[in-house]
């Protein structure tokens, strides 16, 4: 059996996961689980999703060999180009899946949380495509640092609510989206943006991103007839990492999920329960959730998806962290040497590769370039001007 099989009946990956939600949402989670199970086994649904992924999102995404940077680092470096998807990141895979499912369930409205705005933009896009109403919750701090994505969501016809509570970042946007869902559950689907939250979300979102790993594995086979030595991805909630890991988890490949130093749930957290799941969580001595703080809005999350906690606890994947300074350097390095501007989130993965490359000379390293950096250019302009 695969190491990344279906979770247990209670939504557990090992000792992590579960469904810790207000009673009001329990029937909705059960209904969603049943609907997803039914849809995922239905060839018609799979064909509909596959059609949208190809003709709308632009799949399959290509694999790019980075000869310049690879030679510079003394490794073979390959990028899975999720940044080339429609809307500019991997998020569209999950959103098209969930929006089609919501429609199949008869829901007319989506709510979503967003950090950097990538999931919000993807949700707004899917809502526009499928004729659904959409409201996106975004922390006030993120609204400010990702103004471009806020405007994109509005252009796409979605409402964006600036969340003023708590740390005013991603975790508070999740709280507010859940509060909306508690009140609107009969007409609304909560389009959660990562492999987190109550069962079935961590499993369902992983399945919608599995396409990344499946494609990459086939592309590696075609390119060099083997699996890569190392697969690297950034981890906030962990959806792009889980997507690419799913293609290689049962192979010899080393799996590395890179966390920001200021939001290292696996690295610095302890098991805890928030947002419907039991997982590693940054918290104080009384279990109050700590505020994550990093250069990247999309990774500013004090928790992590429960399957990552499981993969870490059984030693199948490792979760090192990198500093903001290392990220800024890596961001510029990819731009200058390869002509690719990465999202700040994925620059975390590259920062780890550039730091650690001397330890694995000649290795074939596959990195998930999960988003493009256009959204971060204004922020980098400020940082580099200092």
């Amino acid at each position: 059996m695969s190491l990344m099989a279906e979770p247990s009946a209670t939504g557990r990956f090992g000792e992590f996961g579960g469904r810790f939600v207000p009673e009001t949402l329990v029937p909705a989670c059960e209904e969603l689980e049943a609907a997803f199970r039914d849809a995922w086994a239905d060839p018609t649904f799979r064909a509909d999703l596959d059609y949208q992924l190809r003709q709308y999102a632009g799949r399959p995404s290509i694999l790019t060999e980075c000869a310049n940077l690879g030679n510079h680092l003394g490794i073979r470096l390959l990028l899975k180009r999720e940044d080339l998807n429609h809307t500019g990141s991997h998020k569209i895979n999950n959103v098209l899946g969930q929006a089609l499912l919501a429609k199949r369930m008869g829901k007319k409205r989506l709510v979503a949380e967003t950090g950097a705005g990538q999931h919000g933009v993807a949700s707004a896009t899917a809502a526009a495509l499928l004729g659904m109403e959409c409201k996106v919750y975004m922390g006030a701090v993120d609204v400010e640092r990702q103004a471009l994505n806020v405007f994109r969501m509005k252009l796409l016809g979605s409402e964006v609510e600036s969340v003023q509570s708590g740390s005013r970042t991603l975790k508070d946007a999740v709280n507010e989206a859940m509060r909306d869902w508690v009140a609107s559950v009969e007409t609304t689907h909560y389009c959660l943006g990562s492999v987190m939250g109550p069962h079935p979300y961590p499993w369902m979102v992983r399945e919608f991103h599995r396409v990344v790993g499946d494609e990459a594995k086939q592309q590696c086979q075609e390119l060099f007839g083997d699996v890569p030595d190392i697969v690297v991805a950034c981890v906030g909630g962990g959806s792009n990492a889980i997507g690419i890991f799913s293609g290689f988890v049962d192979d010899r490949t080393r799996l590395v999920g890179v966390e920001p130093a200021g939001g290292a749930a696996v690295g610095r957290g302890q098991p805890g329960v928030v947002h419907g799941m039991r997982s590693y969580l940054m918290q104080d001595e009384y279990g109050q959730v700590l505020e994550a703080e990093s250069i990247s809005a999309g990774l500013d999350y004090p928790g992590v998806g429960p399957e990552h906690s499981h993969l870490a606890s059984i030693g199948r994947a490792e979760y090192p962290s990198v500093t903001d300074e290392e990220v800024i350097t890596a961001f510029q390095l990819l731009a200058r040497m390869e002509g690719i501007i990465p999202a700040l989130e994925c620059a975390h993965a590259l920062a780890w590769i550039t730091r650690e490359a001397p330890n694995f000379p000649g290795a074939t390293v596959l990195m998930n370039l999960s988003g493009r950096g256009d959204k971060d250019v204004a922020q980098m302009m400020d940082i580099l001007a200092r």
């Binding site: 939600v21 207000p22 009673e23 009001t24 509060r179 508690v182 918290q283 279990g287 109050q288």
Partner: protein
């Protein structure tokens, strides 16, 4: 064995009294005075909230109160320490999110509650399916665990919730989070009626019971009401005595 809270509520119900359980956020400035004033004004039990960083079942008023209490340095330990000295003559329950319990450890937290003189807990993000580890520890320590029932529950779910409930069944009045509303939602009476038909455990409506008139309306069907945001708003705006005066007004309305 029936616990302290449930015994008290059943006895009062048997005597023909409608039950009133107000909520106070622990750690807020003046919270102990508020508990005393509310007890003196005719509350049958009081819920003390342990503030949490991410209260997903709470609307703006209780979110604000939680944030203020945390910024004031309140912790579960400090609040439980302060609770021990209250001695208000009615059962006290603790409302907390599950991570507070999970982080402390189930047995250890149950022991802390017993030491503080707490009779019961309400854990709004711990549904039936996830409740066993806590309920086992709580049962062993003699702490009652109130269970929530929501308007979204199918009929077959309600008897299972009622069977696990100790103290009372919390009948969630509407689809939504805590906070005041202009009117009592129609779901409040319909769910309470469904619960009354299947259980003998006291049924109290909470979430969205916003003033004395709505409380009176709610107790036409339910055994009583839980009131939170409307109490906290008065405590924040006008202090502990105002919260007590308000509860006296509610008491008079539901007795009348």
């Amino acid at each position: 064995m029936t616990g302290v809270l449930e015994t008290a509520l059943r006895d009062k119900r048997a005597a023909g009294r409608k039950l009133l359980v107000p909520y106070v956020t622990g750690g807020l400035a003046g919270w102990q005075d508020a508990v005393r004033a509310i007890a003196a004004a005719g509350a049958d039990a009081i819920e003390i909230g342990l503030p949490f960083s991410d209260p997903v079942m709470d609307g703006p008023v209780i979110q604000l109160a939680s944030q203020m209490a945390l910024e004031g340095g309140a912790t579960p330990v400090s609040i439980l320490d302060e609770t021990r000295t209250l001695d208000v003559g009615i059962p006290l329950a603790v409302m907390c999110y599950y991570n507070t319990i999970h982080h402390a450890g189930h047995e250890r937290f149950a022991h802390q509650l017993v030491t503080a003189g707490i009779a019961a807990t309400l854990v709004p993000d711990l549904p039936l399916e996830e409740s066993a580890p806590w309920c086992t520890a709580a049962d062993a320590a003699g702490i009652e665990t109130v269970m929530f029932a929501a308007p979204t529950a199918p009929d077959e779910r309600l008897p299972r919730i009622a069977a696990r409930a100790r103290g009372f069944v919390y009948s969630v009045g509407l689809l939504g989070v805590t906070g005041e509303r202009d009117q009592l939602a129609s779901t409040a009476a319909s769910l309470a009626r469904r619960l009354k038909a299947i259980t003998d455990v006291p049924v109290l409506i909470g979430v969205g019971v916003s003033n004395a008139a709505q409380a009176k309306q709610a107790v036409q069907v339910a055994d009583g009401v839980v009131m939170g945001a409307s109490v906290i708003r008065r405590l924040l705006d006008d202090g502990a005595d105002a919260a007590g005066d308000y509860i006296a007004e509610v008491r008079a309305a539901i007795d009348g």
